[in-house]
């Protein structure tokens, strides 16, 4: 029984650590998004970056309290496509938010405790709301997702 609980906690910690890695990537990526937007249109990117930074910090604290070693940010990240215009920037923001959503849905899947699920729900909802805005800005035909963070069937 104790072994099961240890395994469950380890799985939850691993999922939270993966979410932390996604949040690190989002914080970095929003720097690129903001840089590709005109100065007057950077507020949403700055707000999103702040939100992801706050979640990142919360995760670092949480994992540290559990005695886990929190994931560190990578020295750099490869962009999935060139970001040369505001539309590219919005498309990158969509990629970032969808990556974060996948990580947090994974937390829901692996969580052993209710507080982890509550945190995941809070972050996941905010992530999808931001993604809706960015999909629109990127000119994507469908701005909502039926299943954020889950693979399509």
């Amino acid at each position: 029984m104790a072994d099961d609980e240890t395994t469950d906690t380890a799985a939850e910690d691993a999922a939270l650590d993966a979410a932390l890695a996604a949040e690190h990537a989002a914080v970095w990526g929003y720097g690129v998004v903001g840089a590709a937007l005109p100065p007057g249109e950077r507020a949403a990117a700055a707000a999103a970056e702040d939100d992801h930074r706050a979640v990142r910090d919360q995760l670092v604290l949480l994992l540290g309290e559990r005695g886990a070693e929190p994931a560190m940010p990578e020295a750099g990240y490869a962009l999935p496509f060139p970001v040369l215009s505001p539309v590219d920037a919005a498309a990158l923001a969509v990629v970032l938010e969808e990556g974060v959503a996948a990580a947090w849905v994974r937390v829901l899947d692996r969580a052993a405790e209710r507080p982890a699920r509550a945190l995941a729900m809070e972050v996941l909802g905010a992530t999808e709301v931001r993604a809706v805005g960015w999909r629109g800005a990127a000119g994507q035909p469908t701005v909502t997702s039926a299943f954020p963070g889950l693979p399509e069937r």
Binding site: D8, V95, W104, A111, L124, E128, V143, T144, G149
Partner: protein, 162 residues
């Protein structure tokens, strides 16, 4: 070579996805020893099964609300018809995750007031999103992931309808 964004799990394990299927749950319920091992997070208690069935009813009610709103406001149907399609897809997936349950929708509390279909629909979406989000906290494994994802998707609907 630096990692490519985004840094996130690529996909769920096949086991996890299967665990929310009717077959997976049926095997678990039968205690079939020849079946693959089922993750404890994906075993379902009777309370969790009941709650998941209740969420099917919540989603069915939302699908009904979309239909009523679109019937009352064809312009809204033209601009937001994809949301209704997504709500139905969510219902289908919830039903697949809740084998044996066939709860019917409870009627939305009212019909959309003339000229206020969008605001009325938005309120219905918010109610369903909050319900799924609360229910996700009491579930585990693939069921928690599915309910959480649907709740987030409906938050997106709410934002789109704002």
């Amino acid at each position: 070579m630096p990692p490519t964004l985004p840094l996130a799990p690529r996909a769920f394990s096949r086991r996890t996805l299967l665990a929310v299927s009717a077959a997976g749950l049926a095997v678990a319920a039968a205690g079939c020893t020849s079946a693959p091992p089922v993750d404890e997070r994906d075993t379902v208690t009777s309370a969790q099964a009941d709650e998941l069935a209740a969420q099917v009813a919540v989603q069915a009610t939302l699908v009904e609300a979309y239909e009523r709103a679109f019937e009352a406001d064809p312009a809204l149907a033209a601009t937001a018809g994809d949301l209704g399609t997504q709500a139905r897809a969510q219902l289908d997936r919830l039903r697949a995750a809740a084998p044996g349950s066939s709860p019917s929708a409870t009627a939305p509390p009212e019909t959309p007031p003339p000229g206020e279909g969008q605001a009325w629909l938005r309120a219905q979406v918010a109610v369903a999103a909050a319900s799924h989000a609360a229910a996700a906290l009491g579930q585990s494994g693939g069921r928690a992931a599915l309910l959480g994802s649907i709740a987030a998707g409906l938050r997106g609907h709410d934002a789109r309808l704002a």
